[in-house]
């Protein structure tokens, strides 16, 4: 493999039922920055049977769209998707391939990386280009989420990474952008004895904190299940979603769907209020892109204050009731 034969940044877009999914635009946001730093083209691969409005992918930042079209790609099956992606990569030879850490991305990317005999880094929170070497720096929380590790793929191409959904904003639409849409029809994608039977929607599966504008989140500083109720009450007053650190979920004070962080959900609300959360990297990975972060913690050295816009050093059991009272007063006056 001559690594200099590889050029360009490719993101693996996603479609659901023929419509380009929002996560694609988040990837384009990341991909655009990387492509500009490298001075190369940004392409977006969309795998599917029929897909509407590929022009939107251009308007959101891609220079080129590769729509790999085949009836075998109508539903997600690991091997047809992987074969399509591997063939496209072998033809296009991008130096960087980024996908979303969705159930699809996290299945296809490792299958493809193993085929391509190249490296893959999961769940990156920061992607950057080394200015000297012009290679991809992939940064993710490591070791149970206490530290960050920066990883590179020096000898093989493409350099592959997944990033968590909602860890970036979608790229803004630019109506004036132009680009090329290429359709590639691949045959022989049929699966290794995999047959898609059915999809069943389950509305109860997701507690929808990812779409909340405000999230109030609690940690071990609330001491016990009873104390955690303060978070629930503050959330109720604010009309907010409820989040929690991993410790709290493991102690059983609230269920897993509320867990925010590396092993839980990634959120990016307008306001994130962290109560009694120390701020391990594991947790920060899931919330640091929030627009405004407020932290309430007894320990003035708690790491959470480093990412906060507004911090109150104090006992949650004093601060939060007062905050709830004042908010209620404002509500009553309004």
């Amino acid at each position: 493999m001559n690594i200099h034969d590889y050029r360009g940044v490719m993101v693996l877009g996603e479609q659901r039922n023929g419509t380009v999914h929002r996560v694609t635009f988040e990837l384009l946001n990341r991909g655009r920055t990387l492509a500009d730093k490298l001075g190369v083209e940004l392409s977006c691969a969309i795998l599917g049977d029929r897909v509407d409005d590929l022009g939107e992918v251009i308007r959101r930042g891609a220079d080129r769209v590769y729509h790999v079209s085949s009836p075998d790609l109508a539903q997600f099956l690991p091997w047809p998707y992987t074969r399509a992606l591997v063939q496209l990569i072998e033809e296009v030879r991008p130096e960087v391939v980024i996908a979303a850490a969705t159930t699809t991305g996290r299945t296809v990317m490792p299958l493809a990386a193993a085929r391509l005999k190249t490296g893959l880094t999961a769940d990156c929170t920061i992607l950057d280009i080394d200015p000297a070497e012009k290679i991809l720096l992939q940064t993710r929380p490591a070791i149970g989420g206490n530290v960050m590790a920066t990883i590179k793929t020096p000898f093989t191409r493409p350099q592959m990474a997944t990033v968590r959904p909602r860890s970036t904003r979608p790229a803004a639409r630019d109506e004036s952008r132009t680009g090329i849409i290429e359709v590639r029809n691949y045959s022989n994608l049929a699966s290794l004895g995999e047959i898609f039977l059915e999809y069943m929607a389950d509305p109860t599966q997701e507690v929808n904190i990812q779409d909340a504008d405000i999230i109030v989140s609690g940690g071990k500083g609330l001491k016990n299940r009873e104390g955690f109720k303060l978070v629930l009450e503050l959330a109720r007053v604010l009309g907010a979603g409820v989040g929690a650190s991993r410790d709290v979920v493991e102690l059983g004070w609230i269920g897993y769907p509320h867990q925010i962080g590396l092993s839980g959900k990634t959120v990016s609300p307008k306001l994130y209020i962290a109560v009694g959360i120390s701020g391990k990297v594991q947790h920060l990975a899931g919330m640091q892109t929030s627009e405004i972060i407020v932290a309430i913690n007894k320990d003035p050295d708690a790491q959470i204050f480093q990412v906060a816009d507004f911090g109150i050093v104090g006992d949650a059991f004093e601060v939060v009731p007062e905050l709830i009272n004042q908010l209620k007063k404002i509500k009553a006056e309004a």
Partner: protein, 262 residues
Amino acid sequence: MRIVVLVKQVPGTDNVKMDPETGTMIRTARGNVINPLDENALEEAMRLKQAMEGVTVTAVSMGPPMAIKAVKEAIAMGADGGVLLSDRALAGSDTIATARALASAIKQLGDVDLILCGERATDGETGQTGPMVASMLDVPVQTYVQKLTVEDGSMIVERIVEGGFEKVKVKLPALVTVVKGINQPGFPTLAGKLRAKEVPVPVWGPAELGVAPEEVGLKGSPTRVVKIFSPKLSRETIMHQYKPGGRAVEELIQFLAGREII
């Protein structure tokens, strides 16, 4: 039918401590456990073993010599036998190199019908090794599986995806990564514990795996960790010390009102 379960030894949740001086992780044998989702994989293998005739279950783990405990624990929980991949040449493996060693072990075992493992491990949290093993063995793979039935050389799985479930039929041999909801892991029995002490667990290195030493370990890993650091995430923080009757909460409300949040 032969089932291989991939088990990883991971530190128990409150057993990872950082060395404040060096920033590296201190791990001890104390409190190490089988990765919880791998326990679910093992339990699923036991379930199939109980439901069908002629099923044998082999646990395969890769790690330092002390990871033999994970294999022994799997045998205590009902696996028929196990193999530990442990060798200096395997140290420093990334997910690709780990998958290469595991895939080679499965090829050495031969005639494997089903490979089960947890969807991810609690320490690395990459979730990559399982699918990579499937890729190297060229077998079908299903990830995030919460239900599994086997019949006539095929299986039907239910996998959790965003907003729902997918039902897929897959021909064996295949690899499946499981999620927590698939079952409730059981307990090892005293008889199992005693048996685990007796059953020899072979330790394999590159020679036994039939791979060149440079294909595994750090040398066989396409990725390199270039830096480990405590993140500087700083925003400019307005700090207030709370005092009863003080102004901290009021300042916060002013701040939020100024940003048109409330």
